[in-house]
Symmetry: C2
Subunit: 276 residues, 2 copies
């Protein structure tokens, strides 16, 4: 292992973009332990000076100078950060002048013009998140008419967080309905779609998962219950996939992919259209 | 208005980072109508060629060449995108070589090393989102012991989406409790904390909002109800802020800030510590 490196993520807003992009760059370097400092809302000269104080303190402590990632638009704030003893990487500087010549136009250098994660459609996003919460877990099917998509699958396949993410990120209205053993047994030999879902067939999308992974997730939550045995997981998964196949419901195995990737895959597949 | 410009956001993963950063750069240019194309999962040569096809089609249609923002690590994919007739801005290229010399180390150029938005703490994030959904709107106070923070405020101040965002982004366990008129009247002259919240005083944080804005939000949801009159909104807000002041509950006016900014402010204030 090498010496620890301090890394700062600085933004005039929430610092989410600076952090995400900075982390993805650092992930390309192995075996270096990074010590992270996230400084959001560095939007005036005073806060910029405080930030420089923090950077210089770290620079003194360690042999290697701190790395500083920032997304700063205000020139006066940026100029102050540049005086620090860190190696400053400003995501804006680098691109804005090339963009200016490409677009044959000067940039406005206006702070807060684009709030990170905030669009004109802010109220829609919030409404869509509330929709996901209110139409979670099959407690009610009242919202199914309004839903852009209805995710179905056995318990603990990531339906809830995926629905919420679709609302927060894309303003999409996503409901979900958990498939239980009761939904599937006692029918005919061939598993069929629960009747409550029949009218919404076109909006349905299935999530499935490997029984091994499902068992781990369930066990972490409720150990030592029939619910979290391998046998039960395997049975539910197999019955549900069987039903998806019988009923021609498109589905996706989520065992190794994240909520963000599930959402992007749904959109890419044409099953869903981004609202913005 | 000038001619329309096509803009592509291309990534080997979800394209969320490319999109966010690209949009914040474009926001610095006024009066140019941008036509957006988001292409996630461009992670092999075939998909890269398809993307080039899309870019070149747009290049033919418009007089100005398309702008292409990308976060691509794989050299072979990148090389293909570079052959397109667009103006390519690759967020990785630009920084990785400077980082290499700063860290005196070669980068691994490994794709998928850092999933956008996904960390080692993925299961914690998902658990925290589920926690937020299950401890929403005061339906139960069972989770309050486990909560890192409990947001309180009148209906429609953004408690639910903020709780969910804290879970999804930072793995924090956030519950919320809605303050209603019934919680506050019939007590003494001075409004005091609802008794159910008393044991959790240290975890409480208030959200408030201007009555005008609150009325708009409520009206959009349920028009022509006492709930969405200005008088009712003003009354609830005033009673609640009164209570926050009496009881020394820290609070924040969310009228003009986003969920992301509320979350970052809570962390910045020291009220909350990021879990990762």
């Amino acid at each position: 292992m090498e010496n620890k490196r301090s890394v700062f993520f600085i933004s005039d807003s929430t610092a989410i973009t600076a952090h995400t992009l900075g982390k993805s760059l650092l992930a390309q370097f192995e075996n270096i332990p990074f010590d992270e400092f996230i400084l959001p809302f560095v939007n005036n000269v005073e806060r910029a000076r405080q930030a420089v104080g923090n950077i210089n303190k770290e620079a003194k402590k360690n042999s290697a100078r701190p790395i500083v990632f920032c997304t700063l638009i205000d020139q006066s704030v940026r100029d102050i950060i540049m005086t620090s003893n860190g190696a400053v990487f400003n995501f804006f500087d680098t691109f804005i002048s090339r963009l200016e010549s490409e677009l044959r136009k000067e940039s406005t250098h206006a702070v807060g013009r684009y709030h990170e994660g905030v669009s004109d459609n802010y109220d829609v996003r919030i409404d869509a998140v509330n929709f996901a919460v209110n139409n979670d877990d099959g407690a009610t099917t009242k919202g199914f008419e309004k839903a852009d998509i209805i995710l179905i699958g056995v318990s603990r396949t990531g339906k809830t967080p995926t629905c919420i993410f679709l609302g927060l990120q894309f303003g999409l209205y996503a409901a979900n309905y958990p498939i239980t053993e009761d939904d599937l047994v006692g029918m005919s030999q061939e598993y069929s779609l629960p009747s409550v879902l029949q009218p919404f067939r076109k909006k349905l999308f299935g999530l499935t998962i490997n029984p091994e992974r499902l068992q781990k997730i369930r066990f972490a939550r409720r150990p030592n219950r029939p619910y979290s045995t391998y046998e039960q997981c395997a049975k539910e998964v197999s019955m549900t996939e069987n039903m998806f196949n019988q009923e021609n419901i498109p589905y996706l195995n989520v065992a190794t992919i994240s909520v963000e990737e599930i959402a992007a895959t749904l959109i890419r597949s044409g099953k869903l259209k981004r609202r913005f």
